[in-house]
Amino acid sequence: MAYKTIIGLEIHCELMTNSKIFCSCTTEFGGEANTHCCPVCLGLPGALPVINKKVVEYGIKAGLAFNSKIAKETKMDRKNYFYPDLVKGYQISQYDIPICDGGYIEIENGNGPKTIRLIRIHIEEDTGKSIHSEDGGSLLDFNRSGVPLIEVVTQPDMNSPEEAREFLEKLKATLRYIEVSDCKMEEGSLRCDVNINVVDEETGVRTTITELKNLNSFKAAVKAMEYEEKRHIALLKEGKDTVRETRRWDEVKNETIVMRTKEDAADYRYFPEPDLVKMKIEEKWIETIKKNLPELPHDKKERFMKEYDLPEYDAGVLTQTKELANFYEETVKYVNDPKQVSNWVMGDVLRRLKDEEIEAEDLTLKPKDLAELIILIQDGKISNNIGKKVLKDMFETGKSASIIVKDKGLIQISDEGELTTIVEKVISENEQSVTDYHNGKDRALGFLVGQVMKATRGKANPQLVNKLVLEIIEKE
């Protein structure tokens, strides 16, 4: 029995413009409720929309980054429905002539690269927000009403929750790269709806699509998709079908829950927005945007491989976000050993980011600081192992490498005289090991070196210790 999962995504991303899409109110997050509003984004009678050029530019940027075709002429349309957070009783969106048509994003799915096709990308406005009040009522805040969004719609090309997650990571990274959106799902600047169903490959029978909404993290989205995958397959096995419905993920119960669906197949009565006229997108404008597009992840990876002579794997890891890549490049400016820096960034730095669940730009550690540490190791002042401990300290305290090394007296012991004394002491306390070594047990050497390291609490220069122990043993 072979079952194929089919997943399509609809992603909404808030654009990082200063002002809203149809008015000049700030898009700044936070702010006291209803203090970033004007007649336009409150939908007061008589107010009219005026489109923000930057929003159109960001739409084009996104289209270029995802290989879409940019429309030469485009327009806005009204999507009509009633809801308290929708101030005008309609949303100004795009219906039949989106700003970007088609496109694709490539992901790695373990078997090699896979192309996930896009249907379209369009621009639209966001709604206000509602929260529950203590007495059971709803409180409405329209600060977010009119914040610009792009909506990215994919073809149902993903065949596993993992592929979907890969896609979302790639989408997020790229949009952050081109500085169009910061895509923080937990903050609501990226929202993802999922359409999922399963087909029995032998019989061709497929389940009805389930829509998943209100997913508030990539993790939740993946869990929800995994759950649905299982649920659909289970039903197929019983010869049953799913019901056409919308579900959300319940963190606590660890299952998807049916949402109260508003109305099936809402009639949005789309028609061209009469308060706006058609927009022209000149070839020249697209060219200018293309030229000023920041280096995209793929291109940066290729460049890293060439410029820093890094293996593809390293380059890939380092360029997964622009901030991490910048961090790397900044560090390399101070330390002339790209591979070393790569190891440190891919290893300890990335681990720290994952453990603390932060992004590269949130690090208090600066590239210069990491460089200083690496130089200390390069100069033999401390060993690699000590270096790892120092880095941990640097993360925790924010102090510089040299200060920590000084405060904790971690400077590597490289004085031959000093080390010889310690080595001789260790050897004299471990006669058996010397004997073992002479009997052909090479591991005894390592043991003796280890003992010297222990005696010096790791501060001894390992290469030197190795040399000295060998020298002294050989003499005996």
């Binding site: 939908g43 009633f82 009565r269």
Partner: protein
């Protein structure tokens, strides 16, 4: 001297000549309003105190020999669908009975910038949907020429206020003839500018692709003066068109010899009252005698204009009025069980029948399965109607016709027959569909009831129709004898 009998231009001149003060002008009009309102009912709200304060400031300016605007000292009535900061703006509806806008419409800012004095908000058909001002939630405005008859609509209050000498100037709005038809019914001049010439920012929308704010005056020069003040590109209205600023008062000069006027035969057909036609033909003769060349033409799609208009305008209106839901402002029902109930009850309890009817028609025309046959179809027919006009204006300077097919009718006469009411617009709607400019100028009386002459010009050719109207006005003879 009765200041209320003077024209706006005359009043301003007297002010400049320091023969009279702004306060005196405003006081005399406040008195007139008090005198007339019980019988006319043109205003929903009057702003006398504030108006006097503004007048005092203007008088100070004049005393200091400061520059004053082109509307200095002139009391102006504003149709109550144009938002005025701090002054209730109701659209003639229960839904917005207590709505106080926190901002001014662009045209209000312009009027204030020219030292015009806003003296009150005038009555109108609810949400501008009507041709008689009878659907207002607050009151019925009477025609100053016959108090048992309607003043026309939807800008009936603005037209009546000017006709009854309560104000020399007022602002109205058009979607399908709502400035021209009441101008015709009340015997005043009404100008509907080209779509895009005057900012719609702050005009509570009925049909976004058709709406324009228009001006009323007792003569062509006055109406042109107000048009000067309010026209111009506005960055807050995305449909606003940037054109070189024109002084329309300069078009009020003599000499229309050689101007070519088209008479569309469809506008003089059977549905038009004979006595109305007669007055208009007389007016045509006057223009001919001044050297204009007249030729009969055909606008073949005229017959479909009304259907086209009622589909497009109601579709856009059904969407524009969706924001009136009792959530953030406006009327909220007291009783409801759920969200649906809140919407339904708030809207049902506060919208009048005509508004509901048009919202329903618009929703129907846009709904799934009907969009192609109705809304899209109407937009295609609109193209054909516009082409009729474009072709005509290639050869002609203006189109001439009656403004309304009938004389002002009695209050209540058509209230129960929506279609019959809609027919009042057959001669005006094509202009809005084509986005052209037009005006109505009085051309006579039939048994004491005014008749209006309509002049239609190509987009942004207000000067031509103003010139024609001005010349006609100067040469028509004593209007009361017509």
């Amino acid at each position: 001297m009765d200041l209320t009998k003077l024209s706006a231009i005359e009043l301003r001149q007297k002010l400049v000549d320091k023969e009279v003060s702004s306060v005196e002008i405003v006081k005399s009009h406040i008195n007139k309003i008090e005198e007339m309102e019980s019988s006319i009912g043109a205003f929903i709200i009057t702003n006398g105190e504030e108006a006097l304060k503004t007048a005092e400031l203007i008088d100070k300016k004049i005393a200091n020999n400061e520059e004053i605007g082109c509307l200095a000292g002139i009391p102006i009535g504003i149709k109550d669908n144009i938002v005025t900061n701090g002054i209730k703006t109701t659209c003639g509806s229960k839904m917005l009975e207590n709505f106080v806008p926190p901002y001014d419409a662009t045209v209000i800012g312009k009027i204030k910038g020219e030292d015009g004095i806003i003296i009150g908000k005038t009555n109108m058909d609810e949400f501008a949907m009507g041709s008689s001002t009878e659907t207002s939630y607050f009151k019925v405005t009477k025609n100053p020429h016959d108090l048992e008859r309607v003043p026309g609509g939807s800008s009936g209050g603005s037209a009546a206020a000017v006709a009854s000498f309560e104000v020399p100037l007022s602002l109205g709005s058009e979607t399908g003839g709502s400035v021209r038809e009441p101008a015709s019914f009340c015997g005043v001049v009404g100008i509907k500018p080209t779509y895009g010439l005057v900012s719609r920012y702050g005009l509570i929308a009925f049909a976004s692709s058709l709406d324009q704010i228009g001006t009323f005056g007792r003569n062509v020069s006055d109406a042109a003066l107000l048009l000067n003040a309010i026209s111009g590109f506005d960055r807050r209205d995305s449909t606003s068109v940037s054109k070189e600023k024109i002084d329309y008062t300069k078009a009020t000069v003599e000499g229309i010899k050689g101007m070519r006027l088209a008479l569309p035969k469809e506008y003089f057909g059977e549905g038009i009252d004979k006595s109305v036609k007669e007055k208009v033909y007389n007016a045509v003769k006057v223009l001919e005698s001044l050297g204009a060349e007249i030729e009969e033409i055909s606008l073949p799609y005229t017959d479909y204009a009304l259907s086209c208009y009622y589909i497009i305008s109601t579709s856009e209106a059904s969407s524009n009025l969706a924001r009136l839901d009792g959530v953030r402002y406006g009327y909220r029902a007291e009783k409801y069980d759920d969200l649906e109930g809140l919407y339904i009850n708030s809207r049902t309890e506060s919208f009048g029948e005509e508004v509901k009817r048009r919202i329903m028609l618009g929703t129907y025309a846009l709904s799934s399965g009907y969009y192609d046959a109705y809304y899209d179809k109407a937009q295609k027919v609109r193209t054909l109607i516009k082409r009729d006009f474009d072709k005509t204006f290639e050869k002609f300077d203006a189109i001439i016709s009656p403004t309304a097919p009938i004389l002002p009718f009695k209050i209540g006469e058509k209230a129960d027959d929506p279609l019959a009411m809609y027919m009042s617009d057959i001669l005006t709607v094509s202009v809005n569909l084509a986005g052209a400019c037009a005006l109505s100028v009085p051309c006579g009386f039939v048994e004491g009831l005014p008749v209006g002459l309509q002049l239609i010009g190509d987009r942004f050719e207000e000067e031509k129709i103003i010139k024609l109207a001005y010349n006609y006005e100067r040469n028509r003879g004593d209007i009361n004898g017509l």
